[in-house]
């Protein structure tokens, strides 16, 4: 019977693990894990079978490593290898941005920078590049965004695999990951003359829900309402929804203070409830210095501000694309980490916020599980 909450917090200076009972009272903290406290951009808590925690470790000296824990994050060891491009490929691994489970507990999917996909069938000890997307005809035309050319989202739904690439856009496989097509109809871009290109959008994050197959939510790179150059204005292209497995997308940004942001999250028990963290597009910080999570309970038709307990002014942090998650208890709590090293918990689905830790290193990712 699951009896604890685990939070993996990937930071600029290593991985931290916070733990509490299901009451979510006091959280203990351990870490940092990872050699020499190097940056961790992605983490995964696999809960099928024996829980396993994986995290990437971006060592600036010795290259990428993958960390693995089989004791609920008390100790971590490096796996036998990290993803690597074939020797004659010409690309070199710069970072790992996403780790997801596959069909079995030891089946892992991994999105990397420069944008490519790898799979492991043995819990991260060996890796194979997935050619269908990594060598896609578009791959050499993708360009890095501010964070690098990263594959940050891997969503699986049976034989469908959705990938988010910045900047590449959304790619869909309907054959289990063998082949992929760009699926960006309705996904705008503010940095190309064509406002709706076939690919090349700066997608920030994509989220779905198992109870609503075919429906997806996307936080895209918004903040282009003031643009008046070729192609015309592009308001509200930042927050989108698809109801046909990502083949077409429509805006659901109306009512938000900004359509720019990084994370997007779906309530674990309700596919109609979705959360975003709007940011000022030019600075990537909280609008007016007042952070707030915004929630829609009707699939994006309207939005409500959730800020009780959050600072009302003078807070100019960023919440990065993987730095928001929710637990799966009956009344879920939300969690987000900031670039100023704060970890916040939003109890009752984000109604009441409280800072759990206020002086961690800058936070890149937050992953939560009940184990």
């Amino acid at each position: 019977m699951p009896d604890r909450i685990l939070i993996c917090i990937g930071t600029k200076k290593g991985l931290f693990v916070a733990e509490s009972s299901k009451a979510r009272g006091k959280f203990t903290l351990r870490g940092p894990f990872g050699h020499g406290g190097v940056a961790v951009y992605s983490a995964l808590i696999g809960t099928r079978g024996t829980p396993r925690i994986y995290a990437s470790s971006c060592n600036p000296f010795f290259g990428m490593k993958v960390l693995r824990s089989t004791d609920l994050g008390k100790t971590f060891k490096e796996t036998k290898s990290a993803p690597a491009f074939p020797k004659d490929d010409g690309r070199a691994l710069a970072n790992i941005w996403s780790l997801e489970t596959g069909d079995t507990p030891k089946d892992l999917w991994c999105g990397v920078e420069p944008a490519a996909l790898f799979r492991s069938g043995d819990g991260g000890d060996s890796w194979e590049m997935v050619s269908g997307i990594s060598n896609h005809e578009h791959a050499r035309k993708w360009q890095p965004g501010n964070g690098g050319l990263c594959m940050h989202t891997i969503l699986r739904d049976g034989n469908r695999v959705h990938l988010g690439i910045s900047t590449g856009g959304h790619y869909l496989s309907e054959d289990g990951g063998s082949s992929f097509k760009a699926a960006n109809k309705g996904v705008g871009a503010g940095f190309t003359p064509d406002p709706y290109p076939e690919f090349g959008q700066c997608v920030h994050k994509i989220a779905g829900h198992k109870d609503a197959p075919g429906r997806l939510y996307m936080q895209n790179h918004g903040g282009w309402s003031e643009w008046d150059g070729p192609g015309g204005r592009r308001p509200d292209i930042g927050v989108l929804r698809s109801d046909d497995h990502g083949k077409t997308w429509r805006s659901i940004a109306k009512g938000l203070p900004s359509d720019f942001g990084f994370p997007i999250l779906v309530h674990p028990h309700n596919a109609d409830t979705v959360y975003v963290m709007p940011l000022e597009p030019s600075t990537r910080t909280c609008p007016g210095g007042a952070p707030a999570v915004w929630r829609s309970e009707n699939g994006g038709n309207s939005w409500k501000k959730l800020a009780k307990g959050l600072p009302k002014k003078k807070s100019y942090f960023t919440v990065q694309r993987d730095a928001m998650d929710a637990d799966e208890l009956k009344s879920p709590a939300l969690y987000f980490g900031t670039t100023t090293g704060q970890l916040w918990i939003g109890r009752e689905g984000g109604e009441k916020w409280e800072c759990l830790f206020d002086a961690l290193p800058p936070i890149h990712c937050v992953k939560v599980a009940v184990v």
Binding site: F62, A92, L93
Partner: protein, 104 residues
């Protein structure tokens, strides 16, 4: 090069010493020094890849390039001030692999 020719070539090659940085000794069964019969730095990296692949992966990326924050010295000279990976090695040379000063 055929195997026998290579073995004969290696037998004639000078023996140099590679100093392993402390964080990477676990990749080399704990060794702090490795003696190798090689004639230049490129051959040294190839031999390290063959004998200690994890160590090699930590100092070179998939393209074979030395990682950005790794410095390789032949005795006291940085390889960039010699002939890069084509720097010749002589009997008794000491090759030191060090991390660059960087951080933040």
């Amino acid at each position: 090069m055929k195997l026998m020719e290579k073995q004969s070539f290696i037998a004639r090659a000078p023996t140099i010493t590679v100093h392993v940085p402390a964080p990477l000794r676990k990749c080399c069964s704990g060794a702090s020094k490795i003696a190798l019969p090689v004639t230049d730095l490129r051959a040294m990296l190839e031999e390290l890849e063959r004998r200690h692949p994890e160590f090699h992966r930590s100092i070179c990326d998939e393209t074979g390039a030395v990682r950005r924050h790794i410095n390789i010295f032949v005795n006291t000279q940085h390889m960039r001030d010699c002939n890069g990976l084509d720097t010749s090695l002589a009997e008794g040379d000491e090759v030191t692999i060090m991390t660059a000063v960087s951080g933040g």
